[in-house]
């Protein structure tokens, strides 16, 4: 029998029991869909992490007080002292491969303009900060070294502030009252839109660190320093230099652990990578189990089908079918069944991947490589689990099969 005739025979047999065929395919459908989701999610998450880290600015290092090994670090949990402007100055001079460095001190504060007010995260930063973040202004100017030196009452605002407090007309040159400190808007930032987590990244105000510490917080202690290495291949050197300078300044003895930590977002990436890895492994498990269960389901239904069609097999043998013809007929039927399941699973898996990507806010990546693999696996499942029933059919004795009731 030629292959095309065998396949159309198999399709006809499967269509005769539509419901049963559909239910039998389910395991393979789920398994294949899981394979696709796994691949898509893994790639999407990686792309997301890379994009997020790229969006933070390039070659970034973050310096926080507290040991890297003591829970989350941070001043309160470890009792390690915060940084001061002198630390910042020391890094500027002492860490050769650190190109830019800025303190970051942030508080949510009531901000008033005209009759309108809102609570907005306000940050005290040095002029380097916007360079580190790679963030430019669309109107006016950025914060300058003079602003910092003079503790000027100026600020740069995000796009949201302009729309929320100035009803869309330009904020440039207008006065804002932040925590009862009057501040002139000297620049409006380029809009970044919502973050991957849905946070409004444009709902921000930046002012000189000197102004922020003197007028608003009343302290020049720094909880976070953000630095940028001169280039990507200098990140590790920059990190070592920061560590050296700060260990000296904070009198950490040789052999003692750092009481601060220098974080490289690429490390965060590695951790997130591990999380996605676990999720991927979980989905792989789901896929494996579904495919196994699906395969057993196919074997079961094929055995039932062989029994039901014993007489048909007898008739075919009586008119000249060889046992190889019967074997291929039932094997092809099993393979067509699981391959159809595979195709449905691929469709469903792609849809589910799009949904999942939306739900957890990562970009959807077409799992290109997974499609042929998933299809191949579904065909393989059909072969592996179809062989036993098909052999059972092929070994029937013609007379016994004809007389079967």
């Amino acid at each position: 029998m030629n292959p095309r005739a065998t396949i159309s025979l198999a399709l006809a047999a499967l269509l005769r029991n539509r419901m049963r065929s559909a239910l039998t395919m389910l395991g393979v459908v789920i398994g294949v869909a899981a394979v696709l989701m796994m691949e898509s999610l893994g790639k999407g998450a990686t792309a997301y992490i890379e994009a997020t880290i790229a969006g933070m600015g390039s070659n970034i290092l973050m310096v926080v007080p507290g040991s890297a090994h003591g829970r989350t670090g941070g001043p309160s949990s470890s009792g390690a002292p915060l940084f001061g402007p002198a630390d910042l100055e020391a890094l500027r001079r002492g860490a050769r491969d650190v190109g830019l460095v800025s303190p970051v001190s942030q508080r949510p504060l009531r901000t008033v303009a005209g009759g309108l007010n809102r609570s907005t995260p306000v940050s005290g930063v040095s002029p380097d900060f916007l360079l580190i973040r790679g963030w430019s202004v669309v109107q006016g100017r950025t914060l300058s070294a003079d602003d910092e030196r003079q503790a000027a009452q100026v600020c740069v605002v995000g796009h949201t502030i302009e729309t929320a407090l100035f009803s869309g007309s330009t904020a440039l040159g207008k006065e804002l009252r932040i925590h009862d400190v009057s501040c002139r808007v000297v620049g409006v930032l380029e809009s970044k839109g919502a973050s991957a987590f849905g946070m409004d990244q444009d709902d921000v105000i930046f002012m000189p660190f000197s102004t922020f510490s003197r007028r608003i917080t009343g302290t020049d202690r720094i909880g976070l320093m953000m630095a940028a290495a001169r280039s990507a291949d200098r990140i590790d050197d920059a990190k070592a230099q920061i560590t050296n300078v700060l260990r000296q300044r904070r009198h950490v003895l040789a052999g003692e652990e750092d009481d601060f930590s220098v974080r490289d977002p690429r490390e965060v990436q590695a951790v997130l990578g591990q999380v996605t890895g676990m999720l991927t492994t979980f989905l792989l498990g789901v896929a494996g189990i579904s495919l196994l269960v699906g395969g057993i389901g196919i074997m079961n239904i094929m055995l039932v089908s062989v029994t039901e069609r014993t007489r048909e097999i007898g008739i075919r043998l009586a008119v000249g079918a060889r046992s190889a013809d019967i074997l291929s007929q039932f094997l092809v039927e099993a393979v067509v069944l699981s391959a159809l399941g595979g195709m449905v699973g691929i469709g469903l898996g792609l849809l589910a991947s799009v949904g999942l990507a939306r739900a957890i806010q990562v970009p959807f990546v077409v799992p290109g490589g997974a499609v042929p693999i998933a299809f191949g696996v579904s065909v393989l499942v059909g072969v592996v689990f179809g062989v036993f029933p098909a052999r059972k059919a092929a070994r029937l004795n013609p007379l016994a099969a004809l007389r079967f009731e």
């Binding site: 008739i315 060889r322 046992s323 007379l399």
Partner: protein
């Protein structure tokens, strides 16, 4: 068969063929040392009481079953030595079967039922359809190509089965009670058809029947009794 027929050997020959079913207390000797030879173009009617071994003998003759002991020779070649695929090829090309219960594939058109042996003969689709259609025409069913078995009367279903038996131009037709489920008028028509295959085309016919009227169509009558051949007579009844 690959090699030519040996001279003097009959077309089909059973030599001391026994067929035993089951074992222990359930053991049944369906055939016991049966000798039978059939020449080309013979028309043999096999009769006998129920359970006397007629169907068993026909199944062995048609390579659907094998003897427990003894030899079955086709044109002098012992069937026991043949590979399963060769037996399948024999069932496909040398023999045509007609059963009491028709044994058509359900939910399959008359044309496709008739074309079935040609699929396994490796004939391509167009030729399969043409040959199946002409076989249906030969049994008087032109125009019913698309009918399913459940849309046909018993007599028509048996005609489809006969067309299927004929389609690959067999040398031997084995019929096991072909008229067993039919009324006497339809029975007569079917016998007419079978007899004409023997007379016009020279096809060897071996037919099991309980009906003396059907047996009368044959030129040779073999009577089975308890797994033995009780009598074997040639010439008109």
């Amino acid at each position: 068969m690959g090699s030519p027929a040996l001279p003097e050997s009959p077309l089909l020959e059973l030599r001391k063929v026994s067929r035993v079913f089951g074992e222990g207390p359930a053991l049944v000797k369906a055939l016991e040392e049966v000798d039978l030879s059939v020449a080309p173009s013979e028309f043999v009617a096999i009769t006998g009481a129920s359970g006397s071994g007629k169907s068993t003998a026909v199944s062995i003759l048609g390579c659907l079953d094998v003897p427990t002991s003894g030899e079955y020779l086709i044109e002098g070649h012992p069937v026991q030595t043949l590979h399963g695929d060769v037996l399948a090829a024999l069932r496909n090309a040398k023999f045509g079967f007609i059963f009491q219960s028709y044994n058509l594939l359900p939910r399959t058109s008359a044309l496709d039922n008739v074309a079935l042996p040609l699929i396994y003969a490796g004939v391509d689709l167009a030729e399969r359809q043409a040959r199946a259609a002409s076989a249906l025409e030969a049994v008087g069913l032109a125009g019913r190509e698309d009918a399913r078995p459940n849309q046909l009367s018993g007599g028509q279903q048996q005609r489809v089965a006969i067309a299927r038996a004929l389609v690959n131009e067999p040398e031997v037709i084995l019929a096991d009670e072909p008229t067993g489920n039919l009324d006497s008028k339809t029975s007569d028509e079917i016998m007419q058809l079978i007899s004409s295959l023997n007379e016009r085309r020279g096809i060897t016919v071996i037919m099991v029947t309980h009906d003396p009227k059907c047996a009368a169509w044959a030129k040779r009558r073999v009577v089975f009794r308890d797994g033995h051949i009780a009598s074997d007579t040639k010439g008109a009844a």
